[in-house]
C-alpha cells in the first residue's frame, strides 16, 4: 500500500500547526541525544552567600569545548519584567566557544547582564537571560535551608525555578555568525547551541537554590532531591518575536515540517507490527495522560484545547483498546484519529507514534537544517505563465480572499521602536502601517499574481522585474515553495481572526516545549526540559525522559 505525505494544504493551516506537540524531532531532545556522551562539568561556581556572582559550566569532548557563563545579579522586585525592553534580570547567560580566560569573563561580566544594550564578540555563540519565579525560588530555598524538600505540588504547578525571556544566537549583538560554526558536526541540527544554553541554565537554577539554601543555614540545609529537580524544567516566556521567524525562514520551516511528515509517512507505511510496538505506544500514552494534568493555564483558548484533547484521548483509548493488530496498523490508527479527533489530539498521537520508532525518526533530525542561501536567487529566465500557474496551483487557498474587506487586512506587523520586538496592530486605528513588515504573505502573493496577469505571459520574470520590483521578495517565496512545499503557512497572517499564538506554538513545539500556557493571544509561557536528565546523569539518557511520570 502506498501512503502519501499529508498534503501541505492540510498540514500548513495555522490551527493544525498551532496544535503541534514536542516529539523525538524536537531540538532539545536531539541536543541531548547528540551531546549525551560529552563531558559536562561545573568549572567554577563563584557565587556569594546570597547567590550573586558567576558560574561556569563546560561541555567538552576530545576535540571541542563549549562553556556557559552564568551571571547572577541582585534584582529589585520592581525591576523584574519578562518584556524585551527590560534592562535587568536575575540571571544572564552567554555560551562561549571554548573555555573563557579571566579577561573574557571580565569583558563579559560588564556586557552580558546588559543583554541587548551590551556587546559580545565572535567568541560568543548565544546569549540569554532569565528571571526567577520568585514565589517558587523562595519556597524552595526556605524549605531546603530548613532541611525539608519543597512542596512538590506547588513546584509542579509552575514547573520551573527560572524563566528565560529570550535566547539570541546567530550574529545578534555581535555574537558569532552562523557561518563560523555551521560546519561543525555536533551542531548540524537546528538551534543546537541555543538548546545547550538552556539545558545548562536549567542546571544552574538547581545549583543556585542548593547554594543559597546551604548558606542560609549551613547546619540544617539539604539539597534538592534529584527526583524533584528532574521534574523541573526551565520556563520560557515568548512574545510575538518568534512569529516572524517562521515566516521569514520558509526553507527552514519546510525542513522541520517535512521531517515530521516523512516520519509519519514511514510509520504509516509499516505493513506489520507486533504486540511490543503496540504496547510501547500504549505505555507512552498512559504516562503522558498522567502528565497532562500538570499543564496549567488560565487561557480559555488553551483550556478549551486541553479539555478537548483529554476528551479525544478518552475516545481514542476506547478505540485503541479494541484494535487488533492488522496490516498497516498505524495507518488505520492515523486515519481514525484524523477523522474522529481535533487537531490537538491528532498531532499528539502523531508525536506518540514517533516515539515507538527511533530508527525511523532520529535520523530525520539531522535533516532539519538547510542552507537558505541556496534558495535566495530568483531564476529570472522563467516564463511568467509558469509562475502564474504555480501560484494558481500552490496558493489556491488565497486567490479567493477579498483583500478589500477590512477584516482580511485588519492587522499589520511592525517592529516596535519602543519595545524592540515585532508587534501586531489594528491597521485602521493605529499608526505605522506604512512601516509594515513583509509578513502579509497571502495579500502580497495575490497582488503579485494580479500584476503578473497584466504582463505578456510569454515574457520572462526578468521582464516583470524591469517593470516592478515591489514583490521581488514574494516572487522569491513562490519559487521556494515550488521546491519546498511545506515552506508556507497557508493562512492569512493579517486577518482579524489570526491567532498569533499558534505561530509561536509551532516553533516552540519543534523546540520541544511543553505546558503551553498562553497569557494572551500574543504571548505564551512554556516549559523546556521538564523530566530531562540532570547534568551529571546525561550520559544515561535514553530519550524517553519526556514521558516520565511527574510526581
Amino acid at each position: 500500500m502506498k501512503v502519501d505525505l499529508r498534503k501541505p494544504e492540510f498540514v500548513m493551516k495555522l490551527d493544525r500547526l498551532g496544535s503541534f506537540h514536542q516529539s523525538k524531532l524536537s531540538f532539545l531532545r536531539s541536543f541531548i541525544r547528540e551531546f549525551k556522551d560529552w563531558d559536562f562539568q561545573t568549572k567554577e561556581f563563584n557565587l556569594d552567600n546570597e547567590g550573586y556572582g558567576y558560574a561556569i559550566y563546560t561541555v567538552q569532548n576530545r576535540h571541542k569545548q563549549y562553556s556557559l557563563i552564568c551571571f547572577s545579579n541582585y534584582l529589585d522586585d520592581s525591576d523584574r519584567s519578562d518584556r524585551v525592553i527590560a534592562t535587568k534580570w536575575d540571571a544572564s547567560f552567554v555560551l562561549f566557544d571554548g573555555v573563557p580566560l579571566k579577561k573574557d569573563i571580565e569583558r563579559l561580566q560588564s556586557n552580558v547582564p546588559l543583554q541587548e544594550q551590551g556587546r559580545v564578540s565572535q567568541k560568543e555563540l548565544c546569549l540569554s537571560r532569565a528571571n526567577k519565579s520568585v514565589r517558587i525560588f523562595e519556597h524552595v530555598v526556605n524549605s531546603l535551608s530548613e532541611g525539608k524538600q519543597p512542596d512538590t505540588k506547588l513546584l509542579y504547578d509552575v514547573g520551573y525555578l527560572y524563566r528565560t525571556t529570550a535566547v539570541y544566537g546567530a550574529g545578534k549583538f555581535g555574537l558569532a555568525d552562523r557561518i563560523k560554526i555551521q560546519n561543525r558536526d555536533e551542531i548540524k541540527g537546528p538551534f543546537r547551541l541555543e538548546m545547550m544554553l538552556v539545558y545548562l541554565a536549567r542546571q544552574f537554577t538547581f545549583d543556585i537554590v542548593n547554594h543559597v539554601a546551604h548558606h542560609r543555614c549551613p547546619e540544617k540545609a539539604i539539597t534538592l532531591h534529584d527526583d524533584i529537580a528532574r521534574n523541573l524544567g526551565i520556563g520560557n516566556s515568548t512574545g510575538l518575536g518568534m512569529a516572524p521567524f517562521i515566516v521569514n525562514h520558509p526553507a527552514l520551516l519546510n525542513q522541520w515540517i517535512i521531517a515530521k511528515e516523512s516520519a509519519l509517512k514511514a510509520i504509516r507505511s509499516i505493513a506489520f507490527i507486533n504486540e511490543i510496538e503496540k504496547n510501547s505506544f500504549q505505555n507512552y500514552l498512559t504516562l503522558i495522560q498522567e502528565n497532562i494534568k500538570y499543564w496549567k493555564t488560565d487561557s480559555e483558548y488553551q483550556i478549551k484545547k486541553n479539555n478537548q484533547l483529554l476528551k479525544d484521548l478518552e475516545n481514542f483509548q476506547k478505540y485503541f483498546n479494541n484494535l487488533s493488530l492488522g496490516e498497516y496498523f498505524w495507518n488505520s490508527v492515523y486515519q481514525w484519529v484524523e477523522k474522529n479527533t481535533q487537531a490537538e489530539c491528532c498531532e499528539f498521537i502523531v508525536s506518540l507514534m514517533m516515539e515507538v520508532y527511533p530508527e525511523i525518526v532520529e535520523p530525520l533530525s539531522y535533516e532539519m537544517s538547510i542552507n537558505e542561501e541556496e534558495y535566495f536567487d530568483i531564476d529570472t529566465s522563467r516564463p511568467i505563465y509558469e509562475i502564474s500557474q504555480l501560484i494558481e496551483n500552490q496558493y489556491t487557498w488565497l486567490l479567493n480572499i477579498n483583500f478589500d474587506q477590512k477584516d482580511n487586512i485588519f492587522n499589520f506587523w511592525y517592529y516596535s521602536k519602543n519595545k524592540q520586538e515585532p508587534r501586531l496592530s489594528d491597521r485602521f486605528s493605529e499608526e505605522g502601517a506604512d512601516l509594515e513588515l513583509p509578513l502579509a504573505i497571502a495579500r502580497d502573493i495575490q497582488n503579485l499574481y494580479q500584476e503578473l496577469k497584466l504582463m505578456d505571459l510569454k515574457d520572462d520574470l526578468g521582464a516583470y522585474l524591469i517593470k516592478s520590483q515591489q514583490y521581488r521578495h514574494i516572487l522569491r517565496r513562490v519559487l521556494i515553495c515550488e521546491k519546498l512545499p511545506y515552506s508556507e503557512i497557508q493562512d492569512n497572517t493579517i486577518s482579524k481572526s489570526v491567532i498569533p499564538v499558534d505561530m509561536l506554538r509551532l516553533k516552540l513545539s519543534f523546540f520541544g516545549a511543553t505546558r503551553f500556557d498562553p497569557r494572551s493571544d500574543r504571548w505564551v509561557r512554556i516549559t523546556m526540559y521538564q523530566g530531562a536528565p540532570l547534568m551529571r546523569e546525561i550520559n544515561q539518557s535514553n530519550d524517553s525522559w519526556s514521558y516520565k511520570k511527574i510526581a
Binding site: T380, G462, I466, R472
Partner: protein, 198 residues
C-alpha cells in the same frame, strides 16, 4: 566588531527606509554582507549612496536608455543579475557613469555564476574581469567612488589564458601517467572486443 548578520540586517532596513522594496533591500543586505566578508568597504560605499540619495541616481532599466549618467550601482547590478540570461545582452555596452561601482560587483559575480557568463568592465578608473569561476580579487585601495565613460562587455566565451607551448608541454607531461603497452598487453588488457565491425 559587528557581525555579518548585523551588517546585513542593518543594510536591509536602511535600504527599506530609502524606498527600496523589501526584495531589493534583501539583495542589498546580502551584497554588502558579501563585500564586508571579503574585507571590502561595502558599508562605507553603501552609506555614500544613501548620502547621495537615490533620487539623484539613475536606474538602469534598458541598455539603450538615453541617460546613463550617475547610474545607481544597486539597480545597475540588479539589471544584470535579472537580465543577463538574455543573449541580446552579450555585447559591449557603453555607459556614462556609475557611482560606487563596488556595490555592483556582488550582483555581477552572482550573474556570472548563474548564467555562466563573463563580464569585462573597462574604464580609465577601473578595469575588472568577472568570470563564473569563484576566483576574484580586487585591490581595495583602488576602488573608485565613480567610474565614467565605461564599457561593460558580456560574453559566454571563455578566453584562452595560456600559450600553445604551455599547453603542449603540459599535455606531453600528462601522457607520462599512461603505461606503454606491449602487443600482448594490448590484447589482454582491452576491455572491448578487438573487432568492432559488428
Amino acid at each position: 566588531m559587528q557581525s555579518l548578520y548585523e551588517i546585513e540586517t542593518t543594510v536591509l532596513r536602511s535600504s527599506r527606509t530609502q524606498g527600496l522594496s523589501w526584495g531589493v533591500s534583501e539583495e542589498v543586505g546580502k551584497a554588502i554582507r558579501v563585500l564586508e566578508q571579503s574585507n571590502l568597504a561595502g558599508l562605507e560605499s553603501f552609506k555614500r549612496i544613501i548620502d547621495l540619495g537615490f533620487d539623484n541616481l539613475n536606474k538602469l532599466l534598458e541598455v539603450n536608455q538615453k541617460n546613463t549618467n550617475n547610474l545607481c550601482p544597486i539597480h545597475f547590478g540588479l539589471f544584470f543579475l535579472d537580465q543577463s540570461h538574455k543573449n541580446k545582452l552579450y555585447q559591449t555596452l557603453h555607459f556614462e557613469s556609475l557611482v560606487e561601482p563596488l556595490v555592483s560587483l556582488p550582483f555581477l559575480i552572482k550573474a556570472a555564476k548563474k548564467n555562466l557568463i563573463y563580464f569585462q568592465l573597462d574604464s580609465k578608473e577601473l578595469v575588472l574581469n568577472i568570470s563564473p569561476g569563484s576566483l576574484f580579487s580586487i585591490d581595495k585601495n583602488q576602488i573608485p567612488q565613480i567610474i565614467s565613460k565605461f564599457s561593460l562587455t558580456l560574453t559566454t566565451q571563455r578566453e584562452i589564458q595560456f600559450s600553445p607551448k604551455t599547453w603542449d608541454d603540459l599535455y606531453k607531461l600528462s601522457l607520462e601517467t599512461f603505461v606503454d603497452e606491449s602487443e600482448e598487453k594490448r590484447i589482454s588488457g582491452a576491455g572491448a572486443g578487438l573487432t568492432d565491425n559488428d
